[in-house]
Symmetry: C2
Amino acid sequence: MNNEKRNLSPEHMDLAQTALDVFDTKFFKALCEPTRVEIIRKLVLLGGCDVGTIAEGLAQDRSVISRHLAVLERAGICQTRKIGRRVFYDLDGPHNVAKVATILEAIKPMAYLCKPFEEISGHDKHQEKGSRKGVA
Amino acid sequence: MNNEKRNLSPEHMDLAQTALDVFDTKFFKALCEPTRVEIIRKLVLLGGCDVGTIAEGLAQDRSVISRHLAVLERAGICQTRKIGRRVFYDLDGPHNVAKVATILEAIKPMAYLCKPFEEISGHDKHQEKGSRKGVA
DNA sequence: GCAATATGTGCATTTGTGTGCATATATACG
DNA sequence: CGTATATATGCACACAAATGCACATATTGC
């Protein structure tokens, strides 16, 4: 377990800090669930809908859809508006696009700072003999 | 549960199709885990490392880190190279940036196609009396 | 007021995931 | 060859998340 740090340049440190700050766990987690993705698809197609309409045709119980919608809202992916006894959910498109754009900007330096095995291939430590073939 | 679909324009259907096709569940899922994010941070800082070095200083057992690295690799986030008895993991920066860029391109139309409650506010159905205040 | 409808919540069950330990496998070293 | 080191895997356990049912709450319409 060698501990010599190689890439501790300001650029790398900034990338490690900035990039991972924008990794909104709640945002990613909300998008991991197949049912939630289906809900998003439906919202794209139908626009703002009440819970009953969204749950229509989906396999899960309305209460489950309601919970998923709450997750999406807490992640900032959609907004709600109560009209009478119904609660309408709608995607916050500008917010979602802005969030992904922010992430992209933050990780962009990774494209040239984290090229896989760029330095290790030319490195002179830890070479077990005859093992480094075709490194590049 | 009204079922009248409102936004079934070609643009919305294309968005629903294209955008959600690029929602790589494996990719998002890999980024949900705090430990995996820490691993990524370490890889940014140190560059390509063997498992032992990565696990150094982290709370979890090496075997756990090894598993997390396997998840990251299956998600395409990092690549591996075996050198001797060690396995080096390194971030695939170009791939990761390209993936996020693809997602951003796919969801961009959402910024103007999914403005929350744009149509519902002016819609004439489902108005329970006196409930729609300040819609906009 | 009461019945009907829409949504959210408590609870129990199931499923999935992270974790650590022990161990198997692979490679290096002597 | 055997021993030491590095990594991955099998297994068991803990904990979180998804699910469905029943029910509470809120609102409409009579």
